[in-house]
Amino acid sequence: MSDFKVNHRDGEGFSVLELKGYLDAHTAPDLETTFQKLLTDKKYNIIVNCKDLTYISSAGLGVFMAYIEDVRKNRGDIKLTNMSPKVYNVFDLLGFPVLYEIYRDEHEAANKFRQQSKKG
């Protein structure tokens, strides 16, 4: 079975999900559970760090799609960081960069959240 792990930690004003391994149809429900928990806890500023994400399939992307609306409705966002070219390619192929903000690292994404909270 493919291996996938989500590690969740909280920063100042945002939550970070570190994804590791294969995110596919088999493991997508794990990520879904994590998102559900974040939403239940009203944590809507979410940074997804893809540093150790080796593979993502459309089912994996589907999880992001399934939650982005709810998150944004609550004035939050899902921002993605540290994507490997391979993972980015899948995002790009399916046209996702128009929908999600993608940053080089967590620091950039966190800054963006800070700016947005000042404005908002």
Binding site: A25, S58, L94
Partner: protein, 585 residues
């Protein structure tokens, strides 16, 4: 290729040689220009360089490069001084002559182009590759209104020609990139299908299959409005949805229960347009049927694609494959659940049957001078039939028969509690109606008033040759005298379990004579059905009993059973059949 190839250098030198001597001062920059341009693969960069070089040399403040995309559609790939946002726009041009001065004015008729007019284009130079036009360099007027002289035009043409090969190469690279990307996408689609087929096979839960299906739709197509509907027995129901829950939507869907092919709402034919109106209103753009062996088992509704682009033929193919893959797993999961459920019911019935069989006496006590036989044939469903014969003293025997409404384990358990009560009461029994009242109260407490028990019991007194009994709503047993006269044992009261005892039960008493036949039975006998849906009836039972009077109890039992079986041939036994025969000695 980081460095220009030597052969290109040579061709540039050749090109330079062919220029008029007046232009020799331009040779060095031309060479440099050629090197830069030929080393690059990026079309925008190349064309931008060409444009800027020409604009700089000719002192032109406005200019653009148009590149042929289709027959007469050109894209503005580079532009300077023409306002922002113009790059990327497309222009329709008829094929134009080789070099055009003041194209806004000079070209006539169809060639006269608004685009040139509105941008005040004064010179148009074709970019040629293998002597066919691949694009145009378009220039506005020169600073100081100086006209483009013949040598100027020649220089511009040379510059453009020098870049033509590079442009063509870059176009090829661009096309290759596009082809590569489209292959990548196809590969991604195949990967998705492969991954899901693997995963679907592992999942035996329809809800989970549907969840994975929606994730893949969301991820692969990027829709955020969708619904998955399943067709069951001619009606369609929505099982997962991100559309409005307008009931009109569900009603509209009924017309698409046997959708045969993927259907774009905008291409729907007039006949169905009315039905599809609520779908359109809900933002549905596409419907994909889910087929199992050519039968529509479901429909996927999809809203707008990510980025608002239209669904392509490839999208439809992919989605149709995905839909069919999913529905097979959904069907399999459903069948698996059904099998499980059936297995569970069967297990439950097996338990019920075991309880019931455990309640029935293994052997009947011998009653001096009497001949007894009993049988219970339980149906597949297992009703709650029960009979018993209990010795109270040398001369007193309790006989009982009962039938619980309902079937399966609950019926069997209730009967077990009645049996327990009965067995507990028998040794203390002196007042049959009073004891029946207590059993009724107990049954009421146990059932909460929604389950009933028809019950008959009595005490055979062999010394006094009599039977005292109470019938609580049970099919009245037959007492058939030797002379053929028939007495039905009806006295008693309400069915057990309906309401607490208010009026005491009545006791019946009959004399028992040698040669009498006492026959207790449940409605499984009298209501056994034939293939035409008719009941066996108590009348038929009575006439059979009359005809077998005097036979041994076991034979009578077998005889009745045979008749019932014969009668209900070709149908499934729907209720337990229970009989108790007593030949009075």
């Amino acid at each position: 290729m980081k460095r220009p190839r030597v052969s290109q250098g040579v061709s540039v030198a050749k090109a330079a040689q062919s220029l008029p001597p007046k232009l020799s001062e331009d040779l060095l920059p031309l060479f440099e220009f050629s090197n830069v341009v030929n080393a690059a693969h990026d079309l925008k960069f190349i064309l931008g360089t060409v444009l800027l070089t020409v604009m700089g040399k000719m002192l032109v403040a406005r200019g653009a490069v148009l590149l042929k995309r289709e027959r007469d559609t050109f894209e503005v790939v580079a532009a300077r001084g023409l306002g922002s946002g113009i790059e990327g726009s497309s222009v329709t041009l008829q094929t134009l002559p080789k070099i055009i001065r003041d194209p806004a004015k000079e070209t006539k008729g169809r060639s006269r182009n608004k685009w040139f007019l509105s941008h005040d284009i004064r010179l148009l130079v074709p970019i040629l590759s293998n002597s066919s036009v691949v694009g145009y360099l378009a220039l506005g007027g020169r600073v100081g209104r100086k006209p483009f002289s013949a040598p100027d035009r020649k220089l511009i043409t040379s510059l453009v020609n020098l870049s033509a090969a590079a442009v063509e190469k870059a176009v090829m690279v661009e096309r290759l990139k596009e082809a590569h990307r489209s292959l990548d996408r196809k590969l991604q689609e195949l990967k998705t299908l492969f991954e899901l087929s693997k995963e679907f096979n592992l999942v035996l839960n329809a809800d989970k299959v549907i969840r994975l299906l929606t994730f893949s739709l969301l991820g692969q197509i990027g829709v955020n409005r969708y619904a998955v509907c399943l067709v069951d027995g001619g009606t369609i129901k929505i099982v997962a949805s991100r559309l409005s829950d307008d009931p009109a939507l569900l009603r509209a869907l009924q017309d698409f229960c046997d959708l045969k092919n993927p259907m774009l709402i905008r291409e729907i034919d007039k006949k169905l347009a009315r039905s599809a109106a609520p779908l359109k209103e809900a933002g549905v753009q596409l419907m994909i049927p889910m087929h199992v062996q050519n039968r529509t088992k479901g429909v996927i509704l999809l809203g707008e694609k990510l980025g608002g682009s239209e669904y392509s033929k490839e999208d439809l193919e992919f989605l149709y494959s995905l839909a069919n893959l999913a529905i097979i797993s959904i069907e399999n999961a459903r069948l698996f659940q059904e099998t499980l459920e059936k297995q569970r019911l069967e297990d439950e019935l097996k338990i019920a049957r075991e309880i019931q069989q455990g309640l029935l006496p293994q052997t009947l006590p011998a009653i001096g001078g009497y001949d007894l036989a009993a049988a219970n044939v339980s149906s597949k469903q297992v009703g709650g039939d029960y009979y018993d014969v209990i010795r109270r003293s040398d001369t007193e025997y309790v006989i009982a028969i009962g039938d619980v409404s309902g079937k399966g384990t609950p019926a069997a358990l209730l009967m077990a509690s009645i049996q327990a009560a009965l067995r507990a009461l028998v040794p203390l029994l002196h007042d049959l109606p009073e004891a029946t009242g207590r059993m009724n109260d107990l049954a009421c407490e146990n059932t909460g008033g929604d389950t009933f028990i028809t019950f008959f019991w009595g005490i055979i007194d062999t010394a006094r040759h009599q039977l005292r009994y109470v019938n609580a709503g049970h099919n009245p047993p037959f007492l058939i005298r030797k002379d053929g006269s028939v007495i039905r044992l009806q006295k008693g009261g309400l069915i057990l379990g309906m309401m607490k005892t208010k009026r005491p039960y009545e006791e019946g008493e009959v004399e028992l004579k040698a040669g009498d036949l006492l026959f207790l039975f449940t409605d499984g006998v009298s209501e056994a059905m034939n293939a035409r849906g008719e009941d066996f009836t108590e009348e038929r039972l009575e006439s059979i009993l009359k005809s077998v009077g005097g036979s041994p109890a076991r034979e009578i039992l077998q005889h009745v059973r045979m008749h019932v079986q014969e009668f209900s041939k070709g149908t499934q036994q729907s209720d337990d059949i229970t009989m108790l025969v007593v030949n009075v000695g």
